[in-house]
Amino acid sequence: MQTRAGPPDVTPSGRTFLGETPPLLVADWRKGRGRPRARLRLSGSARAPPAGGCVRAAGTRALDRVQDRKGGGAAVARVPGTRGTGGADRREPVRCRNGVPAVPVPRCVLGASAEMNTVLSRANSLFAFSLSVMAALTFGCFITTAFKDRSVPVRLHVSRIMLKNVEDFTGPRERSDLGFITFDITADLENIFDWNVKQLFLYLSAEYSTKNNALNQVVLWDKIVLRGDNPKLLLKDMKTKYFFFDDGNGLKGNRNVTLTLSWNVVPNAGILPLVTGSGHVSVPFPDTYEITKSY
């Protein structure tokens, strides 16, 4: 609805709200005011005229070129078709015909109409903004916890050890040493959890060296502690979850099998560190195989 006197706004279809061709253009040409607008070739770069102002397509181009001449800065691409407009247009102050100074309105190329353009561009900027906010938040989560020390003291104790020698049914079909261990774990993991820890993957691993292999590591037991679960570990007389098979017969008479509790910190976003708890226990394995008893 028009509230001010002046030329009616022009819709993209070329018709005004009142349903007639813009009178000002034809009338101005007829009265001979200024140069005939028809001479300004706009080289087919069809644009939706800016809403809320007069038809500024041609005049804004003059604005570009006036600034170019004054500033002499960045080279503005010369638009073909406007070359022949003559000097008068360049020096004219940029105004609408009714005397209201023109406001250069940003144009949108990929827009169907003024209304559709607003919805799309709003959705676009909303999406881009929320994406960048989420990215910043994720980065903040990562950087605030990236250099934290995730180690806590752990107390381990082994109460019973047994050794057998059987065919390794989990893989290579050779007779290998099979160890059985009963252990206790005491640890308080509360200080590890913070806003960026999703879960802790705890695992108890046995490390030892044998004649065949310089280093052996076998994971005997694991547990997943999610954020929110009870972080205090008080486990007694636990049996191993996985079979303690050696690659060969290296457990028999092994003096030094070291058990350590480690954890893999899984963050909401960021680094996945592997941390070993401070505290381990070294146990010797028996020299003989247990044949009669079962574990």
Partner: protein, 192 residues
């Protein structure tokens, strides 16, 4: 009236006008557009290859496809891998490996390591969410993995972002459409 129709002709018909910028350009500007497009493509390629060199892994960013490592990694999560060959494989590490003869890499955890004096390592992996170890996934008769099968170690984690890649893999038409739209917007829009 001839004049009126000429004046009216510059007002656009409703509809998309994606070639508007393109029409205004002279030859030099067009060359610039193409060069701009080529710059973007080669920058992306350079960044990717640079990451490969920096991390030492042939595939520095991977997307988790299955749920075998839940609840740590879900389908659609992004993993950042590095592979510095001086660091030995140790139990508890999350490694990405390729089974001989298959091209899809697998993300699992190392549970057994046996290393010899000369540095040869053989190791066994399993998924956190799996009941059994990975020997069923290895080649027929293969019981252990070796260093040469490893693509990288998982060092960083980013949730959900990889869903885009999964969608593009499951619906290739979407991938082509996305690439076409991005390519067109770079080629046809003039940078002001």
């Amino acid at each position: 009236m001839v004049r009126a129709s000429t004046v009216g002709a510059h007002l656009p018909a409703p509809g998309f006008d994606i070639f508007g910028d393109l029409r205004k350009m002279n030859k030099r500007q067009l060359y610039y557009q193409v060069l701009n497009f080529a710059m973007i493509v080669s920058s992306a390629l350079m960044i990717w290859k640079g990451l490969i060199v920096l991390t030492g892994s042939e595939s520095p960013i991977v997307v988790v496809l299955s749920g075998s490592m839940e609840p740590a990694f879900h389908r659609g999560d992004l993993l950042f891998l590095t592979y510095f060959r001086e660091d030995p494989i140790r139990a508890g590490e999350i490694v990405v490996f390729k089974v001989e003869g298959r091209d899809i890499p697998i993300v699992h955890r190392v549970i057994k390591v046996h290393e010899k004096d000369n540095g040869d390592i053989k190791f066994l992996t399993t998924g956190d969410n799996n009941e059994v170890d990975d020997r069923g996934l290895y080649k027929e008769g293969q019981n252990w993995l070796e260093k040469k099968d490893v693509v990288g170690r998982a060092r960083g984690f980013l949730p959900y972002v990889g869903m885009v890649t999964i969608i593009m893999n499951d619906y290739p038409k979407f991938k082509y459409a996305l690439l076409a739209v991005m390519g067109a917007s770079v080629l046809l829009k003039r940078e002001s």
